[in-house]
């Protein structure tokens, strides 16, 4: 092995020291905010104080980027809550209002366009057959005769493949069942996107563009805060709403009441009632992901 230390000049230790000093020098040259942003820890490792600090920084960033004041929270999961979702396929008419309401509520990039919900048009003759699904339908009126509609977004699986494969642990499942992403930790490798069987995860391929007047200022740090370039995002069941007791935006906008949401652990909730009284199913059940997003036929 190469001799160390004893001969002329640079030993391995000296070399490494030099590199370390250089890196430290670069970092020292940056402004404190930039340095802090770069060196920030994983969300789950933050103390409550550090969480508040991060929220303050994000507020300041939004102020700078959008010229607007926002309120950003990190409200945690409530105990004894496990969120579930049910979608009535006999009622969905494929109007896509949920898609755009979600975009509005969750501050998705408008250009390049990101949509967390994808509505698939299926042929009645073939039933639910993803190989024949068409997300680009655009008839004059919906529902189109001979077709029915299946909206798909993150299924919030109980055995999520995406959280297992993330190499840096940037995505995990919260105690109330929502799979979240720490947008400041994600390295953009997109392994989770390859792993997701439902195409539910979306990537910020370009710099996300959101006009300031369209910003929804009620934010959650793990939900709808504006995302940077190069990170993955997805439906979070409107974490900023549901953790304060409200319904997700898609549930509220649906004009035909096809979307149902609630606490699976509460036997009086409509979602628990649906599981008990209707016959529900999930997509790709053979993959054992055990989604918490159910489909059923109300009539």
């Amino acid at each position: 092995m190469a001799n160390t230390g004893t001969d002329d000049g640079v030993s391995r230790r000296d070399f490494l020291t030099a590199v370390g000093l250089a890196a430290a020098g670069v970092l020292a040259g940056c402004s404190p905010e930039v340095r802090e942003a770069y060196l920030q820890k994983h969300f789950l490792e933050l103390t409550p104080e550090e969480v508040q600090h991060r929220l303050a920084r994000l507020r300041a960033d939004c102020r700078k980027q959008f010229g607007r004041d926002v309120s950003i929270s990190a409200v945690p999961a409530r105990p004894d809550v496990m969120f579930g979702y049910a979608l009535d396929l006999s009622r969905c008419i494929g109007c896509r209002r949920c898609v755009y309401a979600c975009v509005k509520e969750n501050n998705q990039s408008r250009d390049p366009q990101i949509q967390w919900i994808r509505v698939l048009e299926m042929e009645k003759e073939h039933g639910i057959d993803l190989e024949r699904a068409n997300p680009y339908y655009d008839p004059e009126k919906v529902p189109d005769v001979d077709h029915f509609y299946v909206p798909v977004a993150c299924q919030q699986c109980r055995n999520p493949q995406c959280t297992t494969v993330c190499p840096v642990g940037a995505t995990w499942q919260e105690p109330d069942g929502i799979v979240v992403i720490d947008y400041d930790w994600c390295i953009g490798c997109r392994y989770c996107m390859a792993a997701c069987p439902y195409g539910a995860r979306h990537f910020n391929w370009g710099e996300p563009h959101l006009p300031p007047e369209e910003l929804n200022p009620d934010l959650h740090v793990l939900g709808n805060r504006p995302r940077p370039t190069g990170v993955v995002e997805k439906c979070t069941f409107c974490i900023q709403r549901v953790r304060t007791g409200r319904y997700p935006a898609c549930v509220e906008i649906c004009p035909v009441g096809a979307r149902k949401f609630g606490n699976l652990l509460d036997p009086e909730s409509e979602i628990a009632r649906i599981l008990k009284e209707k016959r529900v199913f999930v997509l790709k059940s053979e993959l054992n992901t055990e989604p918490k997003f159910y489909y059923f036929y109300g009539v």
Binding site: M1, P135, T164, V165, V168, Y198, G199, V232
Partner: protein
Amino acid sequence: MGPIEFIRTSLRFILRGGVAYWLWIVLLGALIAWGGVAYVDQLRHGLIVTNMRDQVSWAFYIGNFTFLVGVAAAAVVLVIPAYVYHWKPIKEVAILGEILAISAIVMCLLFVVVDMGRPDRSWHLLPGIGRLNFPGSVLAWDVLVLNLYLVLNLTIVTHILYRGMQGRAYNPRLVVPLILFSVPAAVGIHTVTAFLYAGLPGRPYWNASILAPRFLCSAFCSGPAIMLIVFQILQRTSNIQIRDTAIWKIAELMAYAMFLNLFLLGAEIFKEYYSATQHLVHFEYLFAGLRGHHALVPYAWAFVTCGIVAFLLFLFPATRRNVVTLNLGCLLIYASVYIEKGMGLVMPAFTPDTLGEIYEYTPTIHELRIGAAIFSIGFLIFTVLCKIAVPIMTGEFVARPSRARAA
């Protein structure tokens, strides 16, 4: 001789060359610069300058990465006969295989970095400082194993060259265990990379147990193919003696690997076409086109044809030993495996995507420029390391007695 002297002498070797050598270096430098500019553009605008989209979220970069992991793993094909079976004809040139492995691994790491959305956050992968999801994520395994393999090969090569420059033999008690360990390590890197894919239930095209064996077989075909061509170039440009028995033995091993490669491909084809479940769509897209989309079909048949022809050329000793057919076979198998790992592995898995949509991906100029730059970096590393290694191997370089220094 201290490390500084080692570096100085190496630089002397590197900077010494004829017109052809310098033209080669300039060409590589130009490609690196051209691609470097493209990468800066990609950093500025994001990965949207590629043609990857949500539907096909891994493509050119990861395809190349997968292929190059195979090339890196294939260095072991030289190592096994050399050190395990003490076969001298190959032992002399085994180090070239390790130099290839180093170049290939560096290229792999570079392809991963250019594919990342946030390369500035790479430090999140470091265990201890960041948060490496080990052992849960196979990608975390891959990060560890690839870097370990790189360090392993760097250690072996640096030691052998350093000792060689000093005029001393390498220390077998250090080198031989490391080299023997590099055999399972090589198998390991390609197996872990295969498991990256095979472990995803959401991608039925990949979710097959046959994937890891297929990877290894194709690696053992393509890696040595490069080595054979490199050996012949070195014959022309240096004094290295590479015996024909060594070449023939490698070619023979490649023939076995090629057969297995074709057999495993055939096994997959049978299973998919005979059971004809809906998972067939990915193979259909690849070999026959699907719903009017057939961009990959010519490439699919090209890689199958090249693979079969190369196998036949290597099967018969007559064609295996003929200069023209041997090199033709090498080029064909290289092309076959490159197309198969690049277009035949990654893209069909995403086409159709998980919700049945077909998005036909083709690489953009940006991706090609960056890819060319990374390949040029790999070639450059390989050239430079060979430039240092060859004079030592041929015995042309004789160590100057080092100035006496207090130990």
